[in-house]
């Protein structure tokens, strides 16, 4: 399954774009997406942390993605 991942903040700099497409071979879990992103963009491993959001909610590692989901990478937030 191909997943389009929206990017913000430093993740946008790392992707060089405001979104990127990631192909997932096996089960399309959030955890699998995280691993695929880190493989495709090793600089993500240097971040303090990052989360995945699905349909505007922080997603747990085991959550399974569907083609309709809006998926985003959430690097460490720093609002306020």
């Amino acid at each position: 399954m191909k997943v389009n991942v929206l990017a913000f903040g430093i993740a946008k700099d790392i992707f060089g774009a405001s979104s990127t497409e990631v192909g997932l071979a096996g089960e399309a879990t959030v955890e699998a997406l995280r691993t695929a992103l880190e493989t495709q963009y090793p600089r993500l491993k240097q971040l303090a942390s990052f989360m995945i959001a699905v349909n505007d909610e922080y997603a747990a590692a085991g959550q399974v993605l569907t083609p309709e989901d809006e998926v985003a990478i959430i690097p460490p937030v720093s609002g306020g």
Binding site: D13, Q46, A72, P76, V77, G79, G80
Partner: protein, 138 residues
């Protein structure tokens, strides 16, 4: 009552405070974040705020509702600005009105502390010799 906004326009402090004022409330606590001219001793030229807008609004609403569930408060206003902000400008304003002041203080502090942990908004500090996404790296 809850008023959440995410906007590129300058925040209007007076209008925000007027909105939370209520004849049933005796205390209002207001937190105003401002852009500092330095961070760790290094001069900051300006800040740039970026948000995942839809999700940020949703997380802000969640925080306000949590605060309302935890404390006896009547009105909560939470406005955050995005875009380029100069030193002295205001990225965030939180105002909480309650019958009694303890609840207003506790809720206001909870809201800003939680916002900084969970709301998808990112701040870039621009220095003379470069720029940094705040908190991105360990």
């Amino acid at each position: 009552m809850i008023d959440i906004q995410l906007t590129e326009e300058p925040l209007e402090i007076s209008a925000c405070i007027d909105w939370v004022m209520s004849p049933t409330c005796g205390g209002i606590d207001v937190f105003i974040g401002t852009v500092r001219n330095a961070t760790k001793g290094k001069a900051v030229l300006r800040l740039e705020f970026e948000a995942y807008g839809k999700m940020a609004l949703r997380e802000m609403q969640k925080i306000a509702e949590e605060a309302q569930a935890k404390w006896p408060i009547e009105k909560i206003l939470l406005h955050h600005r995005t875009g380029v902000l100069q030193v002295g400008e205001v990225p965030v304003i939180i105002a909480v009105a309650a019958a009694h002041r303890d609840a207003a203080f506790d809720a206001c502090r909870y809201i800003i502390d939680t916002l900084k942990q969970t709301v998808p908004i990112w701040k870039k500090e621009i220095f003379e010799d470069g720029e940094v996404w705040v908190a991105a790296h360990p």
